[in-house]
């Protein structure tokens, strides 16, 4: 680890200084690599730790050092966001937005004078930075390889996509959040599980397995998550790379302007405003996926959040909590559609094209986004069973780490019992990648560790992470009677 900052004692070091030191070390390794240093630099970034800022800085420094640069992101939305951000934060860069013939880039990305869009890479080679999706880069041929690349959201990129684009660059900075949803495929891949180049693995897992000299850097401070959320998210989802919040207790405050009306929904809003978390619990029951009562409760919570005119105070100043600062997260698309319909029926704006609106989407689509308050329909709410899909750590992690102020979880009762009835039963694959959290050797004994490594035990385990989050939420529970 190049960073010498102690992370275990958050009270002594200033978070800003710790983050700056980490960023400086990463930029050094990227822009001025030591002779013989590995060709890749990996940065693990927890939610809201300044990953995007890091990418902009790295691009600026590389171009400042006279280099040309390619950037790989995973979705068109991410590419457009990145182009918009690069163009506004670094006007000195000339940016090429490479897109496919049938998908026009978003207007936000193209409004800047220093952005040039094109469907052919040859038109963009004069730009200092060329940005596109991994899917588009795979088709680029007959160009001189770039000396430097940045791979954004690298943990969402599949190993086979990296295999197809790695010929385009000599060195690369891989930035991503290891706690988010893993890439997936709809066909069987058991044949390759446990192999370092399993094509359905995340690109970073393959890269690290083949380049053991690469030691991942990490960004130690989450600027998004409030002091109430960072310790829980860190312990539950990032047990081996702990982080902390950039703000302290009391730096982020949320006040309702209108008094509560005595309903459980308002009580939950007050609890969340006070403590950063609330669990709004409906009576235990097995329901269909689009549980009408839960959907109605989610919609009512959002409606009251707006109606009670909350004010959010943070290090960025005071601002009213408007619809565009609220997001609803669900596990399935049909749930999102049901919530959107319920909100529209309640008169809450949900169409972003018509002005500020509440975002309602699945965990997959909320990755990388940030809001002041989130309302989450718990993935296990009302379910008779807990499948691997619903237990996936990344899903819960995404849903529980999008907020700057507070997160309200709506769920049926009985989730703890459901978890106990459905321990993880996925077959263990020999040789699968494993990382043992620090402190574990002392806790479980050194003789057990090689055994765990051999069977490819998964950390964090979805079952355990779910329990941990639930335990915290139970302290902020408001029940419907």
């Amino acid at each position: 680890m190049t960073s010498t900052v102690s992370l275990l004692d958050p009270t002594t070091t200033d978070p800003g200084a710790a983050a700056d030191a980490a960023v400086a070390a990463i930029l050094d390794a990227t822009v001025r690599p030591a002779p013989g240093a590995p060709r890749g630099v990996v940065v693990d970034s927890p939610p809201g730790a300044g990953k995007s800022t890091l990418v902009v800085k790295a691009a600026q420094e590389l171009v400042g050092a006279g280099e040309r640069l390619m950037i790989v992101a995973q979705t068109n939305g991410q590419v457009d966001d990145l182009v918009d951000r690069l163009a506004s934060k670094a006007p000195e860069l000339t940016i090429g937005r490479l897109h496919s013939a049938d998908a026009r880039p978003a207007a936000e990305a193209l409004r800047h004078p220093n952005v040039l869009a094109g469907a052919k890479v040859g038109e963009l080679l004069g730009q200092s930075v060329v940005v596109s999706t991994a899917a588009k880069w795979q088709w680029v041929k007959e160009v001189e390889p770039w000396r430097h690349a940045i791979v954004d959201e690298a943990y969402q990129m599949r190993s086979d996509a990296l295999l197809a684009v790695a010929r385009l660059f000599e060195r690369a900075l891989f930035v991503g959040d290891p706690g988010q949803l893993d890439p997936f495929t709809v066909v069987g891949t058991e044949q390759w599980s446990g192999q370092s180049y399993d094509p359905s693995n995340s690109a970073v897992v393959t890269l690290l397995a083949h380049n053991p000299a690469i030691v991942p850097h990490r960004l130690p401070v989450s600027w998004r998550l409030p002091a109430s959320a960072a310790p829980l998210i860190s312990a539950a989802f990032y047990p081996y790379t702990p982080f902390r919040s950039g703000t302290g207790p009391g730096d982020r405050l949320l006040f309702p302007t209108l008094a509560p009306d005595g309903t459980p929904v308002d009580a939950a809003i007050d609890e969340a405003a006070e403590s950063g978390w609330a669990l709004l619990e409906l009576p235990a029951r097995h329901t269909v996926r689009t549980d009408p009562q839960a959907v109605a409760t989610v919609a009512e919570t959002v409606r009251r959040l707006l109606e009670r005119r909350l004010v959010a105070r943070s290090e960025q100043g005071r601002a009213p909590l408007t619809a565009d600062r609220i997001a609803v997260g669900t596990a399935h698309r049909d749930q999102a559609a049901a919530v959107r319909a319920a909100l529209a029926a309640a008169g809450v704006p949900v169409d972003g094209a018509a002005g500020p609106a509440v975002t309602v989407d699945t965990a997959n689509r909320l990755q990388g986004r940030e809001y002041d308050v989130t309302v989450v329909l718990h993935p296990l709410s009302g379910r008779p069973d807990a499948t691997a899909f619903h237990l996936e750590t990344g899903r819960l992690c995404v849903l529980a780490s999008r907020h700057r102020h507070a997160c309200i979880v709506v769920a049926r009762g009985g989730i703890a019992e459901l978890l106990d009835d459905h321990p993880a039963t996925d077959p263990v694959q020999l040789g699968a990648a494993v990382r043992i959290p620090p402190g574990w050797p002392e806790e479980v004994g050194t003789r057990l560790i090689p055994l765990l490594e051999r069977v490819g035990a998964q950390f964090p385990d979805g079952w355990e992470a779910n329990h941990r989050v639930l335990q915290e939420l139970a302290e902020h529970r408001v029940r419907f009677r």
């Binding site: 060709r39 890749g40 899917a135 795979q138 088709w139 041929k141 190993s159 086979d160 990296l162 295999l163 197809a164 790695a166 010929r167 690369a172 495929t185 709809v186 066909v187 069987g188 891949t189 044949q191 390759w192 192999q195 370092s196 180049y197 399993d198 094509p199 359905s200 690109a203 393959t206 890269l207 083949h210 380049n211 698309r333 049909d334 559609a337």
Partner: protein
């Protein structure tokens, strides 16, 4: 599980009979499939015990290992299996059709016309369940690297000559079975479950006899089809404690192992020892006869547990043949024929057996192929089968309805005006459709795209602008635009799978994936890490 499948399962619970999930048969069934029922030994993972196989339902051939722990007996078994199976597999390699295509000249980059051979038909193996596929994969893995007496370095235990070749074919078939929609090697339980829903869990459907008990009452059962009949298949035992319907393998019933198999093997062992002692004496002939009797007893007991499954598989084939083949099946079977032809050519060219582990590029290519075929299969099934399309419509991924209005309109932005008619469709479906969304017309004469311009969800009206597939003229070609009153179906998913992006050659594997695979990794290692 989709909503429609759940509904069909619930209906099956109520009716006590399997309910259709398809109106057509979505997998290819050859004229001469080979049914193969494998059994494994309980002692060792993947150790073969017996195989009942053949293309004639009245004349199955049984091969078995009288002493499963004896490696020599195992090789005799594998040699016999190779002699039985390879002629069938190779028999499809002679009749070919010539397909002309083009190939890029690696030096000049020019397209050169070439003709390639494509086998007119391909073999098809049907096993009872997915456990059978796994068992064949293990057999293939265990045999394809064996050295034979013909090798320059045969080693201390050379295998019979055709055994490694058998291993390579089994490996090819089981690899191909991973490709969605492929039909070279199919498990009967999966075939039936794709076309009919039963009122039991997927786990119970893995038992072929129990699944068939939802189609017809099993032998020895007087009641109706359904859950009780399935339970009878799973649990009913005769007065000796043996199951009426033995499991379809490859694992055998432990009670059979204990009471019937183990004593028969012990008698075989004893007869063999007795023969060894009697050699050269007057008792030799009697001992030889005793040995033959013990083999015949084993044969009879194994046949007793294999034949019910054998008949079950053929009964399943009968059921599937009642469905007409889906239109896209032929196209998928052609891919299978290419796969078969390719393997035939690799064997003929003397290429080494498939490596133990794929390298990074091969693994990525296989995954890309499987993902592409999965999309192609889903689209093909939806276009072929209104029930499959209904699932997509219920999921909001397609909609079907009547055209209520057609307004001729043109795009005049270019040099020449192009037809862009507006269609209003009345539908009871609720697609996840927003204005601006691109949709694709199913069953159009030519592939046709449209853009949603307006949605009135309350009235069930969608307005679409047709974008192509209307010819080059100013006016759309006759028949290319639906008329008022026509029933149309549009999908939100594309109807042709996207091409997979090119991957590097294995020798160009980049540094991120460990560089080109070392030569050692590709060698035909005969020893396993764990051996």
């Amino acid at each position: 599980m989709s909503l429609l499948t759940t509904l069909a399962r619930l209906q099956a619970v109520r009716s006590g009979h399997a309910e259709p999930l398809a109106t057509v048969r979505h997998r290819h069934l050859g004229e001469r499939p080979l049914v193969l029922v494998p059994l494994a030994t309980a002692v060792e993972d993947g150790a073969p015990l017996a195989v009942l196989l053949g293309t004639d339902r009245t004349a199955p051939a049984l091969h078995f290992v009288p002493q499963p722990l004896n490696r020599e007996r195992r090789f005799e078994f594998l040699a016999a299996l190779a002699d039985e199976l390879l002629p069938y597999l190779e028999s499809f390699g002679t009749e070919v059709e010539l397909v002309s295509g083009s190939e890029l000249d690696p030096q000049t980059g020019e397209k050169l016309p070439i003709t390639r051979e494509l086998c007119a038909d391909a073999p098809q193996l049907i096993v009872p369940n997915s456990g059978g596929v796994r068992h064949l994969a293990l057999l293939g893995r265990a045999t394809r690297f064996r050295r034979t007496a013909e090798d320059p370095d045969p080693g201390p235990y050379p295998a019979p000559p055709r055994v490694p070749l058998l291993g390579r074919w089994l490996t090819h078939l089981t690899e191909r079975a991973q490709v969605p929609g492929s039909s070279l090697l199919l498990p009967m339980t999966g075939l039936l479950a794709r076309h009919w829903a039963t009122g039991q869990s997927h786990l119970e459907d893995q038992q072929l006899g129990a699944q068939l008990a939802w189609h017809a009452p099993p032998a020895g059962w007087t009641g109706p089809t359904g859950a009780a009949a399935a339970e009878f298949v799973e649990t009913a035992r005769d007065e000796h404690g043996q199951l009426h319907h033995p499991p379809a393998g490859p694992a055998t019933d432990p009670r059979f192992d204990e009471k019937r198999l183990a004593p028969a093997i012990a008698r075989y062992d004893a007869a063999l020892t007795a023969l060894r002692h009697a050699e050269g004496t007057a008792a030799a002939a009697a001992a030889q006869q005793a040995l033959q009797r013990s083999v015949a007893a084993l044969r009879e007991r194994l046949l007793g547990v294999l034949l019910p499954t054998w008949h079950d598989v053929w009964q399943g084939l009968d059921l599937l043949r009642t469905l007409p083949p889906a239109p896209h099946v032929a196209e998928r079977w052609e891919s299978d024929r290419w796969s078969y032809t390719g393997h035939r050519d690799r064997v003929a060219a003397g290429e080494p057996p498939q490596p133990r582990l794929d390298d990074a590029v091969t693994a990525a290519r296989k995954l890309a192929l499987r993902e592409r075929e999965q999309v192609r299969l889903e689209v093909g099934e939806a276009l072929d089968d209104p029930l499959a399309m209904a699932e997509r419509r219920l999921a909001g991924e397609a909609f079907s309805g009547l055209v209520t209005e057609v307004v001729a309109a043109q795009d005049t932005s270019g040099k020449t005006a192009k037809p862009r008619p507006l269609l209003t469709v009345h539908t009871a479906d609720r697609p996840h459709a927003e204005p601006g969304r691109e949709v694709h017309r199913a069953g159009a004469p030519k592939s046709q795209k449209a853009e949603i311009t307006a949605v009135d969800a309350a009235a069930g009206l969608l307005t679409l602008r047709l974008l192509n597939g209307m010819g080059r003229g100013k006016e759309p070609e006759p028949g290319s635009v639906p008329a008022v009153g026509d029933r149309v179906t549009f999908t939100l998913f594309e109807l042709t799978p996207r091409q997979s992006a090119p991957l590097p050659e294995p020798d160009d594997t980049p540094w991120t994936h460990g560089g080109p695979p070392a030569a050692a990794q590709n060698s035909t290692a005969t020893s396993e890490e764990w051996a």
